[in-house]
């Protein structure tokens, strides 16, 4: 019986260590809990098109010190998708940060709907998407007071890809940031079709 107690105590200690290590791993569980409750602010929208409903783009500064950007039907909807970075570096050191959302796949030809949304630094004047047929799409971009973080302004952008493009296998290859002079200052691949 003493051995059983000793084994139990050792197990409890080991389990505590495992749980603690997972919590300390940038605390994803803590962030997951925070995003359930912290308020969202609408910063952009993706209009309805091709039979798909409109979606809002929402920023969320969490109590855990992160800035999240979500796409969702409404600020209270749990049908949201997006990502979070540290509040003091929401673009992860780049000029822009974006998410690619799509339905269908994994093969490119079976993707039925796709959108891109993200944040850009104040140095970015235009955002374009390079498509797999070498054409470019201009993405609406707008600055918003809701994204003035620590005295630094950010702009948001969002775009829905045309159903006709997707049906013929044309998808987004890269998201490109241009400055006010039209010079390319950032380019990030989407991996779409890759």
């Amino acid at each position: 019986v003493l051995l059983a107690v000793a084994v139990g105590a050792a197990g409890a200690l080991a389990g505590g260590v495992v749980a603690s290590a997972l919590r300390d791993f940038d605390d994803p569980a803590g962030l997951a809990a925070a995003i359930e409750h912290d308020p969202l602010v609408r910063v952009a929208e993706i209009p309805a098109a091709d039979g798909a409903a409109a979606r809002g783009i929402y920023a969320q500064a969490t109590s855990t010190g992160h800035l999240c950007l979500w796409e969702a039907p409404s600020p209270t909807s749990r049908r949201r998708q997006g990502g979070c970075n540290d509040l003091d570096d929401p673009l992860a050191g780049e000029e822009l940060s974006f998410s690619l959302a799509y339905e269908g796949g994994p093969a490119t030809r079976s993707v039925r709907e796709a959108r891109v949304f993200g944040l850009a630094s104040s140095a970015v004047a235009r955002v374009q998407v390079l498509m797999s047929d070498a054409t470019r799409r201009d993405v609406p971009i707008r600055e918003t007071a809701a994204l003035g973080i620590g005295g630094t302004a950010y702009a948001s952008f969002a775009y829905r890809f045309g159903a006709r493009d997707l049906a013929r296998g044309v998808g987004p290859v890269a998201v490109i940031a241009l400055d006010a002079q039209g010079a390319e200052i950032d380019r990030q691949t989407t991996g779409f079709g890759g």
Binding site: D26, A32, Q81, G82, N85
Partner: protein
């Protein structure tokens, strides 16, 4: 078999079960991959269920290309896929009665992260 040996075996089994639960179910999450190091095109999946609500991929640091999605158990299509380089990436589950599993995939090399459903 003596009673003490039976007690030890029962206690050991309970500890193993408890350890498993403690390591994968924290704050309502079920961790199905990692924390571990990832390589390009490495993927992982949760169990199939009709009740999953969300799927997330968290990394230590940001800037790593990765995706989260749900895969149904009939056509094995991807649903609500979200791909980015954020430190925390999350998508929502298709509604019940669809039976689906959370799936996460890495497109980058040499970063640490974990995937979980809730």
């Amino acid at each position: 078999m003596s009673k003490s040996i039976v007690a030890v075996r029962v206690a050991g089994a309970l500890v193993l079960v408890w350890l498993a639960v403690a390591s994968v179910a924290i704050a309502g999450e079920t961790i199905y991959a990692g924390p571990r190091q990832w390589s390009p095109n490495a993927g992982a999946g949760s169990a199939f269920s009709g009740s999953w609500l969300a799927n997330r991929f968290a990394t230590y640091g940001s800037g790593y290309d990765k995706a989260v999605t749900f895969i149904d158990n009939k056509t094995y299509s991807w649903h609500n896929t979200l791909r980015n380089r954020s430190g925390y990436t999350e998508t929502f589950a298709p509604p019940a009665p669809m039976v689906k599993k959370g799936h996460c995939v890495s497109y980058d090399l040499g970063f640490w992260g974990s995937c979980a459903v809730r």
